[in-house]
């Protein structure tokens, strides 16, 4: 069976604009969540989020002049993370044969930029006229893929995965399967996203999915804590270069870890809530374990989905207990979302990269803001302080909105 390893990483998150910065922040339990400054949120229900600060526009324009016409911010940090991962993997000419597999959620309609002639509008007519004159207003979903394909003359397969919260975990799992099967040798995969725009923030807050404890700011995202009351939205990008082991060894690539298992499932329950017993999540974990051909007792750490919503964290905990039994209490678990918020289509990839600190530094990042134990969520969530670790197998959970689940198993690289 062909083996698949990680040979490059790139990350832009509310905690840091490259992998090094990001690792330093999350190990130290530093939150990237603050009051939203991108638009006026004074009358919004939700006023906090995990923003990317200081996008270096000028240097990005010189690197890629096509960006100048693009208004959608997620394209910028998606591009930054892609560049970092590509350089990190030192792909050079091999990039042309790579596959590209990117998760992203939606095209954003930036309503805050709209100007109307009068207050009674015929929206159909308006859009027809407005879009004609402002072609770049709504940025097509395949913009970043196209940009990368043209810039690097990528001729491998290109996928755009729109599975929302599970998207980037799926892109990594899907790419892993393709390499293992022999369809391709290298994939650049992951995701980029931002819901920090009026319709994104407004839409999610109407669903009641977000925390409204604005006064708590960086303490509002509190996965698995009794006082948790909802997710915090964040933005960012996480990119991983996956490569067939022999290809990586032959070119002397740096190897971060080995991907050994992938599974995905659907709750098929309700569009608004996770399946309450955790059956869908359980199936996803079990599929990943089966795919890796290991039993549950091999897992040494779980990077949780941990959104900080009352239902999601509870269901995830139940699913973990179902799969791991008594052993569940001995597996350290942490939620990267406690520091970054929910990066939606970018979340899985950024969180998998975050978990790699276990292999890189023998340290696991904590779940911050863990203050009040919840009797129903009673596992070891690595509260507040990072932990030394020398384990081998990591399980990554992504249990998304609408009941879409995806899990990955990553292993410490051994010859």
């Amino acid at each position: 069976m062909r083996r698949v390893v990680i040979t490059g990483i790139g990350v832009v998150s509310p905690a840091g604009s490259n992998a090094k910065e990001h690792f330093k922040s999350i190990l130290n339990g530093k939150s990237g969540i603050d009051k939203i400054s991108l638009f006026d949120v004074s009358t919004m229900l939700v006023k906090i989020g995990g923003e990317i600060k200081n996008i270096p526009f000028e240097s990005l324009y010189s690197d890629c002049p096509e960006l100048k016409t693009i208004t959608d911010r997620k394209i910028y940090f998606g591009f930054m993370a892609l560049q970092e991962a590509i350089h990190d993997a030192r792909l050079s000419d091999r990039i042309k044969e790579c596959g590209l597999n990117l998760g992203v959620s939606l095209e954003v309609l930036p309503i805050e930029k709209l100007v109307f002639p009068d207050s009674k509008i015929n929206l159909a007519d308006f859009f027809a006229g407005y879009l004609k004159n402002n072609q770049s207003l709504q940025v097509p979903l395949d913009t970043l893929s196209m940009l990368m394909i043209r810039k690097y003359k990528i001729s491998g397969p290109s996928y755009i995965n729109c599975s929302a919260c599970a998207a980037s975990t799926q892109t990594i799992g899907h790419s892993f399967r393709k390499i293992r099967r022999g369809d391709n040798d290298i994939f650049i995969c992951g995701g980029y996203d931002s819901m920090l725009n009026p319709l994104g923030l407004g839409g999610f807050s109407l669903l009641g999915a977000l925390s409204e404890k604005n006064e708590l700011k960086d303490k509002a995202s509190r996965p698995y804590d009794r006082e948790r009351d909802g997710a915090i939205l964040g933005e960012g990008a996480g990119i991983i270069v996956l490569e067939e082991l022999d290809s990586a060894l032959k070119r002397g690539a740096k190897i971060y870890a080995e991907v050994v298992g992938y599974g995905s499932s659907l709750d098929a329950y309700r569009s608004t809530d996770p399946e309450p017993t955790g059956a869908g999540a359980e199936q996803s974990i079990r599929s990943a374990l089966d795919d890796a051909q290991i039993t549950p007792q091999y897992i040494d750490y779980i990077n949780g989905h941990g959104t900080s919503t009352p239902k999601n964290d509870l269901v995830e905990t139940k699913a973990i207990k179902k799969v791991f039994g008594d052993q569940a209490y001995n597996i350290p678990i942490s939620s990267t979302k406690s520091m970054l918020g929910h990066l939606i289509a970018a979340s899985g990839a950024v969180e998998i990269i975050s978990a790699l600190t276990g292999f890189l530094f023998n340290k696991l990042h904590p779940t911050i803001n863990y203050e009040y134990p919840d009797p129903t969520c009673d596992l070891d969530y690595i509260p507040n302080v990072m932990r030394e670790w020398d384990g081998k197998y990591i399980l990554k959970n992504s249990f998304g909105f609408g009941g879409q689940n995806a899990c990955l198993i990553v292993k410490r690289y051994e010859k």
Binding site: D40, V41, S42, T43, M44, L45, L106, E107, I111, E112, L114, V115, F116, S119, I121, L123, A124, F127, A128, L131, K132, Q135, Q138, D142, I149, R150, K153, I154, G156, P157, S158, Y159, I160, N161, C162, S163, A164, A166, A167, Q170, K178, R181, L199, G202, G203, L206, S264, S265, L266, A268, Y269, S271, G280, Q283, S287, G400, F401, G402, G403, Q404
Partner: protein, 424 residues
């Protein structure tokens, strides 16, 4: 040893109606599904003719009213087609291990239901601008809390999973026809390699709304004066937009045989290429399309002479058609025996956008099943000097077709070809 892959369920939705019979019967008769659209409010004079499914009644097919309320038009199309496909296959999802049944689909982009955005924007306006204070204070609370469900592109897969109790591996592929074709191809590879046994694949789309049509106009894909869908034709002057698509059940051949399923055809080859040269939505050169077809032929383990029938992507866009024709010539020019029949069905259906690839894939499977080739209704308009192919005739005919190819070279960087084989 790779497993063989059977097509055991087809669900079609199109302006002809719901179901594969109604679409197939109309196609056999050479009926077009277009109507004048310039008076339709949501088109706002962006399109003269198109394929609009006027009397679509989703509630006839989707009993779950609560769920139906959350679904936009694309999601309803996909769900109805999915219900049809699963019924057609006679698979009982409760009787198979959930992790063996995957669902890989695409529904294009969700532009959002305009009606839902109007009150939000109207209530946010201060001096002609969308004011964020007003947005938070007044506008948000007047809009449906369920707005996000209609916009999030992953929701259709969730609705279908709920309606049909499918709980296995899943992915959502967007935004164009090529990506939806990938949903078929990726499931095909997974069934071949034994990672899956069953998959619901394909997609449906609706772009008959002013936001989508304006975007397509900006991209140079459609123009208001287009009044004829004539692939490879002299008078075709742009894409005629339609709505619809197909959901398809792919199944491990052994499993299909064991349960004595109806098998439409066998899927044997999948080729895909990425266009890294073109600066527009259509390819700048034929080489990327040539490679795509050749990859599919290699994957199928056949020789190009074996191909009897091609359902081309040709959508009446002059550049797209010309490039595809060049590529088909390059692939088949030195065939020793007779050339494959070319059957551009978009002359009848128009372009279903994200739904086009799966629809034409399904049509090709039906051609193999029925041993009936569909008409080329714009035959008189085709420039025979320029496109000296063997087109199917103006009327449907019974013919022996053993191997069919279907191309998805519509807009976007991703190009896909499939090869299907008659099942005997």
């Amino acid at each position: 040893m790779k497993s063989r892959v059977a097509i055991t369920g087809i669900g079609l939705i199109s302006p002809y109606g719901v179901g594969k019979e109604i679409a197939w019967n109309n196609l056999v008769k050479g009926n077009k599904c277009f109507r004048r659209l310039d008076s339709l409010e949501q088109c706002s004079n962006l399109l003269t003719i198109g394929g609009y499914f006027e009397d679509f009644q989703s509630e006839q097919f989707i009993e779950n009213r609560k769920l139906l309320k959350l679904m936009n038009r694309e999601a309803q199309f996909a769900a109805v087609a999915a219900i049809q496909a699963l019924e057609d296959s006679k698979i009982n999802t409760n009787s198979i291990p959930p992790e063996r049944f995957g669902i890989y689909i695409g529904t294009g982009l969700t532009t959002g239901e305009l009606d839902e955005l109007v009150p939000i924007i109207e209530n946010s306006l201060v001096d002609g601008r969308v004011d964020m204070k007003a947005f938070g204070e007044k506008a948000l609370f007047r809009c449906s809390p369920l707005l996000s469900f209609k916009i999030l592109t992953n929701m259709p897969v969730c609705y279908i999973s709920i309606l049909l109790n499918i709980k296995g591996p899943n992915m959502v592929f967007n935004p164009w026809s090529g990506q939806v074709a990938q949903s078929i191809g990726e499931a095909f590879k997974e069934i071949q390699s034994g990672e899956l046994d069953y998959a619901l694949v394909g997609g449906a789309d609706s772009k008959i709304n002013s936001v989508s049509l304006t975007t397509l106009t900006n991209l140079g894909v459609i123009n208001q004066s287009t009044s004829l869908s004539s692939p490879f034709g002299s008078n075709g002057n742009g894409v005629v937009v339609s709505e619809g698509g197909a959901l398809i059940i792919l199944e491990n051949m052994e499993s299909a045989k064991k349960r004595k399923a109806k098998i439409y055809a066998e899927l044997i080859g999948y080729g895909q290429t990425t266009d890294c040269e073109s600066l527009t939505v259509y390819p700048s050169s034929s080489s990327i399309l040539t490679k795509c077809m050749e990859d599919a032929i290699i994957d199928a383990g056949i020789s190009k002479e074996d191909i009897d029938y091609i359902n081309p992507s040709a959508n009446s866009h002059p550049i797209a058609d010309k490039t595809e024709a060049e590529a088909i010539k390059e692939v088949f020019s030195n065939c020793n025996e007779k050339h494959p029949l070319i059957n551009p069905t978009k002359a009848m259906t128009g372009d279903f956008m994200a739904g086009a690839s799966s629809f034409e894939f399904a049509i090709s499977a039906l051609v193999l099943k029925e041993q009936m080739i569909l008409p080329t209704v714009n035959l008189k308009d085709i420039d025979k000097m320029k496109y000296d192919f063997r087109f199917t005739s103006e009327e449907a005919t019974k013919d022996e077709i053993n191997i069919a190819m279907t191309n998805s070279f519509e807009m976007g960087n991703t190009k896909v070809s499939f090869i299907l084989k008659r099942f005997l």
